[in-house]
Symmetry: C2
Subunit: 194 residues, 2 copies
DNA sequence: TATATTTCTTCACAATTGTGAAGTAGTTTC
DNA sequence: GAAACTACTTCACAATTGTGAAGAAATATA
């Protein structure tokens, strides 16, 4: 009995119940994978090979713009799915890189196997709809935050909601994620201490 | 034969093919609805009653913050679905208002009927996944734009991608949507003319 | 452990955007 | 068509954030 799968199931159960048959399919087709700090598990320009579930560890999602700057679009820790989902599903090359910020434990499934579990299982489609809706709500909130909050307010909010990110992720990554210049964020952080 | 349904079907066909049976279900359960400029078709605090498809016209989605300011989260014209989808599906009160900025032609379906068409039809679930994915991509891009572009650049981009919004929507709505102070946007627009 | 590399902080200054008020223009309503 | 209302522009000034450089601190590598 692999603990990692229990973490996956508990995460899924936040949205839908998983019948035994779907659990077994997960155990059969999701493969454990250990990645080390700095490792890029999906690269820009390539079709994403896996749908990744972070069991533990921190990851980031970034792309390089015309000026060669890395733009970080997402930072997350487990438990959580973390995939360039659209490109993965449509088998199209992604412009994003998925990289481990710390050592990570993953469970991952190949693209073809997702079609198999969709056919043989029961709840996958329902879960997909649920998690897409959930993700959509989160993204809507991020848009609102950008449109209505100052840089300082966005940082404070992140600090409250995801203190583990502040504690574990380099400032320059957080700055890019929040759309703030690293120097400015350093100053903001310094002024907050007072 | 109602032209409005052809507009709906053509819009849906951008993502999935609609078999005859699903077309008939749409014709049976989607009802035409005309709304006039300024009309609020879903109100904050209430469970959204309809899933709305804009055939023609411009609508906005907004909520009121603690200070009583209207924050506009979305502006769109037809053809397009326009609903507080999460709250509609989960039958929970939404904090958002859907309002017509111009006279609008809609096709709308009641919540209970969505369950019926889901059961009797074929492609609804697949379409839902597709359009959620599409919406997710659009929202990701909006986040990136906020994080990487200046106020002026965001306005210019909107102008390029959705010139009809610039032409048809009051400046103060556009300002709120872009997260810019109306006075600032007026100045930005003025300086762009030179 | 020493060295090299990367990240973070700090600074002065610049650029952008926000604020609130006042006036102008435009629109709606009766 | 006049009055009332709403939206837009403009202004001076304030606040926030960006920029680029230089040094300090932290981390990785040999």
């Amino acid at each position: 009995m692999n603990d990692n799968f229990e973490i996956l199931f508990n995460y899924v159960r936040l949205l839908v119940d998983i019948p035994k048959i779907d659990q077994d399919l997960c155990r059969k087709y999701f493969k454990p994978f250990s990645a080390t700090k700095g490792e890029i598990i999906e690269s820009s320009g390539k079709v994403p090979q896996y749908h990744n579930f972070i069991v533990s560890g921190f990851m980031r999602n970034f792309y390089s713009n015309e000026l060669g700057q890395e733009i970080i679009t997402d930072i997350n820790d487990g438990p959580r799915f973390f995939t360039s989902y659209n490109h993965f599903m449509h088998r199209t090359p992604s412009n994003e890189n998925l990289q481990c910020i710390t050592d990570c434990e993953l469970l991952r499934i190949k693209r073809d196997d997702v079609d198999i579990t969709a056919k043989l299982g029961i709840t996958q489609m329902e879960y997909t709809v649920q998690i897409l809706q959930q993700q959509l709500e989160k993204n809507k909130q991020r848009i609102i935050d950008h449109a209505t909050l100052s840089a300082e307010q966005r940082y404070v909010k992140l600090q409250k909601e995801y203190p583990s990110i502040i504690q574990n992720i380099p400032l320059k990554y957080i700055a890019s994620y929040l759309g703030i210049n690293p120097g400015s964020l350093s100053r903001i952080r310094n002024e907050l201490v007072k």
